[in-house]
Amino acid sequence: MHLLFSIRTVYPAVIAPSILVVPILIALIKRKYWLGPQKILFGYLLFSVFFNCIASITTFLHINNMPILHLYTILEFCLLCLLFRGIFEQQAMQKLLIYLLISFSLFAIAYVLLTHSLFRYNTLPRFLSSITIVGICLYFLYLNFANTEVNLSRFNFTTVIGLMLYFSSCSILFGLSQTLHNKASPGALIFVWNLHATIMAIMYLIFAWAFLRLKPNQ
């Protein structure tokens, strides 16, 4: 049973995260065209590799890795806020992103330490962070939808599409994950997290596409 469980977790814990290699390699090939947002996204990819490795190891050793998820949620949100700060040109938006970064980090830390266990899934912060990111992505698309005069950067656009697809699809999972862990069978849980891993892999492939389309003027 243990062996079977391990085989079934190979896809979400090993195969899907290993797709990260693709955008990282393409990003390295295109490193001469990097500007601010590309550097931050590359940092985000390396950060994801690091945390995925830790998550995979802890999963196979059957160690509760929820404390790592709390840290991952905060750092991921901070990195994405910095990425959006590089993407948006409006100063007001850049300021707002810094306020969001600070306030969310404080909220997530306070939530875990004061009202929540460190070893339980952080439903609310993860859900809030994903909803916020979807909101920022929608605002980016709205800005460029309304203003057709702006020459849309293909890298920024593709990156935002990847983030929006992943976070909008998985918001419902993040919001209901604690309930799911309490009520669903292990098989169902694996199925849902496999779906999550697939969408995450799609996001990484979209990032790879964004790097692949990089040109000197972007």
Binding site: M164, S168, L173, L176, L180, A184, L195, H196
Partner: protein, 254 residues
């Protein structure tokens, strides 16, 4: 239904909805950009047509003035010369009249020559039997005869070159403008004009041994006119290294 099914359905539905929205967004933007591009292309085409019409009307106006000068003023002056000659033949014994005759004839000859020059300059295609080569040779001979500067013209084939009227006139104007610029600004002693013919195109290399053009030189009216005329006939041009005189290469389709 179990909660995990709701979550799976919710995730899949949101993913597909998001994907559809993004695809719609991309298609909509592409349509808008395509329309903007078409609008800009139409605007550029309109500007080109306007320029062409302006140049054409300018040429036809020049041609009209040239013909008027040639037919009206020139003819009348010739007639006047004849009248004076006849008048003198009838009054040979009067020396004062002879002197008057000489003076009038000299002045009128001068006016006729000037009028002809002006009319030919205004409308070089007045005589349609002229080919492009003849026009260029004629013009350069005129400049060479002044003795101030020498122009060498070479064509890489002997057959008579026949361009359309638009191309002939545009290239003639470009060459005269270039020569004019060389004379005015470069202190050059020699101008070399080489025409070579390729498959479907003709190239003209214009060189002088003057001071050349500074790299940061601002485009004046003359250079802008050259650009406009070359653009009108679909020609491309390239200003080469100017360290030893002005050097321009023009290629146009034939």
């Amino acid at each position: 239904m179990s909660i995990y099914l709701y979550i799976i359905l919710g995730m899949t539905a949101t993913f597909l909805l998001c994907l559809a929205t993004i695809l719609f967004y991309i298609k909509y933007r592409k349509n808008i950009l395509k329309k903007q591009y078409e609008l800009k292309t139409a605007e550029v085409q309109y500007q080109k047509n306007l320029l062409k019409a302006t140049i054409n009307s300018q040429e036809s106006e020049r041609k009209r003035i040239g013909m008027d000068l040639h037919d009206e003023v020139g003819a009348n002056l010739s007639y006047l010369r004849l009248l004076i000659e006849n008048f003198v033949e009838k009054n040979e014994e009067i020396s004062a009249v002879n002197q008057f005759n000489e003076q009038c004839r000299a002045i009128i000859d001068n006016i006729i020559t000037n009028t002809r020059n002006i009319s030919h300059n205004l409308s070089p295609l007045l005589n349609k039997s002229y080919g492009f080569q003849d026009m260029i040779y004629d013009y350069c001979d005129g400049i060479n005869s002044s003795g101030k500067i020498a122009i060498q013209v070479t064509f890489d084939q002997d057959k008579i070159v026949k361009f359309s009227d638009t191309v002939t006139l545009a290239m003639y104007r470009v060459i005269t403008e270039l020569i004019n610029n060389t004379i005015k600004h470069s202190s050059a002693k020699l101008i070399t004009l080489c025409f070579s013919f390729g498959d479907g195109f003709c190239t003209m290399d214009y060189m002088d041994d003057g001071t050349g053009m500074a790299p940061d030189h601002k485009k004046g009216m003359g250079l802008q006119n050259i650009e406009s005329r070359l653009g009108m006939i679909g020609a491309s041009y390239h200003i080469k290294d100017n360290s030893s005189g002005f050097n321009l290469s023009v290629t146009w389709p034939v």
